[in-house]
Amino acid sequence: MTNLLHPSRRGLLMAGGAGLLTAALPGHVAAQGAPIKIGFQLHRTGIGAAYGRWYERTAQAALKAINDGGGIAGRPVELLFEDDATDPKRGSEVVDKLTQSDGCDLVMGTLFSHVVMGSAPRAGELKVPYLVCSEGYHVASGALNRWTLQPGITDVRAQISTMAPWVAANLGKKVTMVFPDYAFGHDHRDFFTTAIQAQGGEVIAQIAVPPTETSFTRYFPQIPTETEVLYHVMVGPAVLTFVKELGEFYGTGAKPALFGFIDSLEAVDTATPGLEFLEGSHFWEAHPRVKPADAGEHEAAYRAAVGVDDNGASVSDAADVSTYSHMFSTWETLYFIKQSMEAAGYTGPADRQKLVEAMEAISDLPYGIERPQGAKRFNGKTHQVFGSQNISQVQGGKLVKVHTTTIEEGVYEDAVDYTTMSF
């Protein structure tokens, strides 16, 4: 017979083992109290699925790191993922479900701009903080509401504008742009055309390709022969065809310098057969996929936590290439939430307004494990974060970082002051 006064030998061993295990984990701080629930609007299916898969992995890694460090204000954190099918209508329903049915304190994680646009009005109605990881200029343009913020990734306007000085100085000043004929492509067309003019360059041709196009050969003769730089931002499965056909068009003859955005090749191996034509060309990257020689001190820890090797692929499958230039935004957004909740003394949904005000009060966000992509500056008025950008060159089928911009290069004048809007 065993009881508390006369424990069994097995019971004593188990209790002793548990004690030893606890003593062996001095760095683990147990979070206490009711969990903080963060809803994650995830592109698990639909056109954003490749991004969604890596957004989920990165957010899970950040969640583990935050909980291992004691959670938020000592409370454990939960992430609730809900698929929005990369669809604006479903996106709005997901914000509703995460907030009203699952009782989340806030919602985050949306990437595709049209899903953000479709979901943000509902977040505003529910008065729930909605933190997007989208790159869209929609937040800083003033098109949304006081409850929508983008603290984890710079927007497309800043990204594009910072590329122009380097392109003009290093690749050429006569630029032809090839872009998909919808909002993403139009942003590039408008912002880059203005930015390159400021550098004394010019866009000599703008070639808009309808999104339904599957072959591009008939567009290439429209590229003027005096073109020095071909700026391309085709996305989706068509990008492989686009690059292959472009290579066939120029053959081994003279060709303009190529400059593109890595959005074209996120989750795609740059050494994929058919992409040889990209050798020597340059790409914008937010966060260099291939670990640079001068990477920051937290880069290795971040890659290890997310499960990404030095080439930007999954450690368990080298063919599973990450969406490295975007997914850090979920990590940094979670740490932004932690910082603002602790600053606001957040206790529950009744403090949501106080939480947004605390977010708006944040400005400098220094480099650290909380921000592995780099230091940032948050603009509380426009609800948009600013940071540095990188340019990489394809060398031997790998992206090698060759330039990093400053934060200041991407800063532009405020188009809105959300802090003057009512909640």
């Binding site: 698990r44 299916t45 993922f81 809900e82 698929d83 669809d87 604006p88 209508k89 709005s92 329903e93 509703d96 479900k97 009203q100 049915s101 701009s113 049209h114 646009m117 479709g118 943000a120 009005p121 509902r122 109605e125 869209g136 929609h138 098109a143 949304l144 509401n145 004929d181 919808y182 909002a183 993403f184 139009h186 309808p210 999104p211 339904t212």
Partner: protein, 315 residues
């Protein structure tokens, strides 16, 4: 189909009464979802009038939904129209687009009609992208709060939104019941059953089908406008093929050629996704399995099967 005396009217009014009370016994979350379902059901009712009753298998109804959505949303966005005029513009936009579509597409029939309507819808989608500076392109735009007010009520708040959705749904449901019990409704069914025999009896199939498609467009336009004004978003994704297939699925699931089928189909599909997402990330598997089961065991849809086996008077 037109039998049953007052029973069909009583049944439909009872459903509307139950829905009216639903806002009191449902949580705000489920009540908002029910408002969404009612708006989608109006779209499906429109599809049902064309497909279920007139036999016009369209793959272009997303164009009509988007026509209503933009006809309501753009005046609100550009000129600050209020919800009332914007909604009327949306209904008219859907009807006019359907009439224009019908004038061209109804020269064809069957599979050709499907392909032509699909092509027009795709052209409409690309047009929305092309004129992005005005339409917002694929990003779309959020409808301003000032345009979401009707008679002093804020349509972005729970109760006014629910009641507005119910009002539109109830009007759509009762009009469709009256329509299919009218002589014109029987003519629509005659077109579906045997167009050549109808022609021999003196009806002009083109004008009957054009009228049916236009009415279907009015419903689709109303749904698009309602979505824009009640949920505050207008976007080109609503003009994609997915939104042409959705009402077809709702109608097939609930029962094509039944007045309550579109609502039941939308309700079941929405609920199925809602429940399945809570169980697994592979929720689309459940949706697919449900559709396969439907084809195997109830090819006439839920209410179509019930009418065939048990309740013959179901309209």
């Amino acid at each position: 189909m037109t039998g049953g005396g007052v029973k069909p009217w009583a049944l439909h009014l009872a459903l509307i009464a139950v829905l009216l009370t639903a806002q009191f016994w449902l949580s705000p979350y489920h009540a908002t979802n029910l408002a969404r379902i009612m708006v989608l059901a109006v779209f499906a009712m429109g599809y049902n009038l064309a497909f279920g009753y007139t036999g016009l298998l369209s793959l272009g109804h997303a164009l009509l939904l988007a026509a209503g959505m933009y006809a309501a949303g753009l005046p609100a966005q550009l000129w600050g129209w209020g919800a009332g005029p914007a909604f009327i513009a949306g209904v008219a936009g859907g009807g006019l687009m359907a009439a224009a579509l019908g004038l061209l597409a109804l020269r064809t029939a069957g599979v050709s009609f499907m392909i032509v309507t699909l092509m027009f819808a795709q052209a409409g989608y690309l047009t929305l992208l092309y004129f992005a500076p005005v339409t917002g392109g694929d990003d779309g735009f959020a409808v301003a709060a000032a345009s979401r007010r009707l008679l002093g009520f804020d349509l972005s708040t729970d109760t006014p939104r629910f009641l507005a959705a119910l009002l539109i749904f109830a009007a759509g449901l009762l009009i469709s019941l009256a329509l299919i019990r009218s002589p014109f409704g029987r003519t629509m069914v005659a077109m579906r059953e045997n167009e050549e025999r109808s022609r021999m009896l003196g009806y002009n199939p083109f004008t009957v089908k054009l009228a049916a498609l236009t009415i279907s467009g009015l419903y689709s336009g109303a749904a698009g406008a309602a979505y824009a004004l009640l949920f505050g978003y207008v976007g080109a994704s609503f003009a994609t093929i997915q939104y042409s297939i959705l009402p077809m699925l709702y109608v097939l699931l609930g029962g094509a050629g039944t007045t309550l089928g579109p609502f039941l189909g939308a309700l079941v599909m929405f609920t199925l996704i809602e429940v399945a997402t809570g169980l697994t990330s592979a929720y689309l598997f459940f949706v697919g399995a449900a559709l396969v089961a439907l084809v195997l065991f109830a090819p006439k849809g839920i209410l179509g099967t019930i009418r065939e086996r048990w309740v013959r008077w179901l309209p």
